[in-house]
Every structure is written in C-alpha cells, then in structure tokens.
C-alpha cells in the first residue's frame, strides 16, 4: 500500500494558499492552517481510509474559518482593511505583472463565498463534488457561485485594458464591452 495519498507535507502549500485566499492575511492564514492541523489531529479517527486527505483538511480549515468568523474572531475591521494588510503572495513578475496583480486584487475583493468556490474549482482544480464537500453546500450552489465569480472577473477584465487603464463605462444592459473585440 502506497503512502502518497497520505502526503500531508505536500498539501502544506495548497492549504496555506487556501487559507490566504480566505483570510487575505499571511499571518492569520498560517494560524488558520495550524488550527486545522490541531483539529485534524484530534479528529484523525474520523478520517476514512482511502478518502482524499486534501479535501478532508480543506474542509476542516474551511469550518474553522467559518466558526471564527461567526464568533467574531475575524473582526469586521480586519475584513475591511485587508487591502492594507499583506495577503502573502509573491508579487507577479514579467510583462503581465501589473495585470496579474490587478486580477488578484479583483479576485480577493469577491465575496468570500464566490472567492473560495472559484479558488477550489478553478485554481486548485478540485471537482465540483469535492468543493461541495469542503464548503458543505449542494453542488448546484458551488456551480452557481463559480459562475458568478467568473462573470465578475470577466467584467473586471473587460473594464480594464491590458495597459491597466479603464477602457470605458459599461452601459447597464448594453453590449459596448463586446464592441472592442
């Protein structure tokens, strides 16, 4: 029997990344991962052998984040001020650096529900069913959150050109965004 499927050290980076997407703060994110490991340790008897260890850990991490938010540990002030904090990702480099930074900011500004659904399905490449298990919502809800998050990012990209300037206002219900293509 192999051990690859129990490779938790290998999950450290995806877990920290997910925590940073949730908290938008590097320090809080590592605290969150730490709490998730402790809870996973306490509940290791609940891990079904053969289950996906990444989904299991991300689910624990998600729940702790939600619990902390409910109990007010993640303060509204911190939520509002996240752009002043350090989300903790490497600054993009190369020609696309500015655009990628803007895309990341637009992504981090999405609602938490849309942000994490898109993160799990698109960035981490999990199946909708796996994301639904982590987020504890029906698969249809995941799909609709992903769809709305994608549309929001398309809108954002449509409004800003490759040079980073705002191209034009988009008329409500209009199709001027299409005319540029």
């Amino acid at each position: 029997m192999g051990t690859d499927d129990l490779d938790i050290v290998g999950q450290l980076e995806p877990l920290r990344r997910y925590a940073r997407v949730l908290t938008r703060n590097a320090e809080a994110a590592d605290d969150l991962v730490q709490s998730a490991f402790l809870r996973a340790h306490e509940r290791r008897a609940t891990f079904r052998d053969g289950a996906d260890v990444r989904v299991w850990l991300m689910s624990i991490l998600h729940n702790i984040f939600i619990d902390e938010r409910r109990s007010g540990l993640t303060t509204a002030a911190r939520e509002r001020a996240w752009t002043d904090l350090q989300p903790g990702f490497v600054a993009p480099s190369g020609e696309m650096a500015v655009r990628l930074s803007e895309l990341r900011n637009a992504f981090l500004a999405l609602s938490q529900e849309q942000r994490e659904a898109l993160h799990l399905v698109a960035v981490e490449g999990l199946s909708v069913a796996e994301a639904a298990e982590i987020l504890r919502v029906p698969a249809g809800t995941v799909m609709s959150r992903v769809g709305r998050a994608r549309a929001a990012l398309r809108d954002f990209e449509e409004k800003s050109g490759a040079d980073g300037k705002v191209r034009s206002f988009r008329l409500v219900g209009g199709r001027d965004g299409q005319a540029d293509r």
Binding site: L6, I8, L12, H41, Q86, F89, A122, V123, L153
Partner: protein, 255 residues
C-alpha cells in the same frame, strides 16, 4: 448568456473538461462545435480560462517558506494517519502486561495510561516507526545501515547496547520527539523478525522504571531503562513474552 446556456446545461458542464483535454473525441467535437457556433460564449470561456491561469500564476506561491511548526505538525499528522492505517490491519489484541526478567516488582498501571491517552514514550517510538516505514517506501530516502554507537552517545547522549549475534541493522535515523531527539533503529532479528528499537536520553532525576512488556494498539512493546537512556522495543506481530526476550538480551548487553 443565460439565454444561450439555459437549454445546454449538459454541454456547458463539459466545457471545462474540453479545455483540460478530458473528453473523448466524440464529446470534444460536440462541445467544440457548440462553442464554435456561439462566438460570444466561446470568448467568455477563453476569458475564464485566461483568468484561471492568471490566478494560478498570481496565487502560485506563498511569499514565505512554511514555518517550521507547520512543517512538523504536517509530518506528525502524516505519520499518525499512516500508523493508524497500518494498525487497522492488525487485529487489536487485549492488552496484557508482562514483566520480564522475573523478579521485577509489578508496577506501571499501563492500562490506566492507555485510557489517559497513550504512553508518551511509546507514542514517540511508534511515530518514529511510522517515519522509518515511510522511508522504507520512499526511493528518495535511502536507509542508513551504519550504526555508529559512539557518535550517537556523543551527539545525543544515548547509550546503545551491543546488538545480539544475528541482529542486523536495516535503518538508523535520528528522529524528533516532543522533548529531545532520539534514535530509531530498524532491526532484523532471527527470532522476532523485523523490530524497532527506539532509544532516547532521559532525565537523570527520573526514577528507574522496571522493564515491562505489553500489548499496545495491536503491537508488542517492551520498555526498559538503563542509566541515562530509555528504550522502547516494538514488534508489529508476536506477543509480549517474545518481545520481552529480545529486550532482556539487549539489557544484558548494557549491564
């Protein structure tokens, strides 16, 4: 967009799979044909793909290496899950306590210890065993078969017994424990087969504990101490009497 996709939810569901090359040729043709006939929807799909790749780039790496605590938590959890898997395959046997080398005063309420959440030294030894098991599976982690007892005494303050005839060292690793590093040695023995010897320096003011052998989470375990070192011998099969024989041989070589 909704107007276009409402009646095509099954095709829409496969659009991402098309981009990832996961569809069989027939299905890929159908989905690509659907998009080819809907340039606006196709442009949206490509914009989504661009944004996804952009986010993968922009979120790729945390800006700092993982803190050492996180790494060690991850390793511990990994070891414990692996151990749990290994142990689930071994039917648990009712705990039995055997004092070996007759004449030792009966002591050590091991069952009480187990109820209180496990014996810390044995838990550490089992963690070490799980780590050695992992290494055994991993091609990139070669086993070290050289047992340099004087170096181990010098670096870790652990005195190691001379091994009985026929005992062969298969792997030696310095392993971490909550208090101080210890050494884990995988051994092949003529009577017991593959066993693990875990040794760690102990506090001078800890009293001498009489050697004991018992069933622990489906394994046979012997515990003994000598001067400044404590030892755990673990056998995945066998019974406490057998492992206590092995421990007695080691103890004789220490005294």
């Amino acid at each position: 967009m909704d107007r276009q996709t409402d009646n095509h939810s099954d095709i829409e569901a496969d659009v991402q799979a098309l981009l990832q090359g996961q569809l069989d040729p027939e299905r890929a043709y159908a989905v690509a044909d659907y998009l080819a006939n809907r340039p606006e929807r196709a442009a949206e799909v490509l914009a989504d793909a661009r944004n996804t790749e952009g986010l993968r780039l922009a979120l790729s790496t945390p800006s700092d290496p993982p803190p050492a605590e996180l790494l060690s938590e991850a390793r511990q959890l990994q070891d414990r899950l692996w151990r749990r898997r290994v142990m689930k395959r071994i039917a648990p046997v009712a705990a039995a306590v055997v004092l070996f080398a007759g004449g030792w005063a009966a002591h050590v309420a091991l069952q009480a210890l187990e109820e209180a959440g496990g014996h810390p030294l044995v838990e550490t030894a089992l963690d070490a065993q799980a780590a050695l098991d992992l290494r055994h599976w991993m091609v990139s982690q070669p086993e070290s078969t050289v047992l340099d007892t004087s170096e181990i005494v010098g670096a870790l303050g652990i005195e190691l017994p001379r091994l009985p005839d026929g005992w062969i060292v298969r792997d030696v690793q310095v392993v971490s424990s909550p208090e101080r590093p210890g050494v884990a040695i995988a051994l092949d023995t003529p009577e017991l087969g593959r066993i693990l010897l875990f040794a760690i320096a102990r506090d001078k003011n800890d009293g001498e504990a009489p050697p004991t052998a018992f069933e622990y989470e489906g394994r046979s375990v012997a515990l003994f101490t000598n001067r400044h070192s404590a030892y755990v011998l673990v056998d995945n099969s066998g019974n406490p009497e057998q492992i206590s024989n092995g421990a007695s041989q080691l103890l004789n070589h220490l005294n």
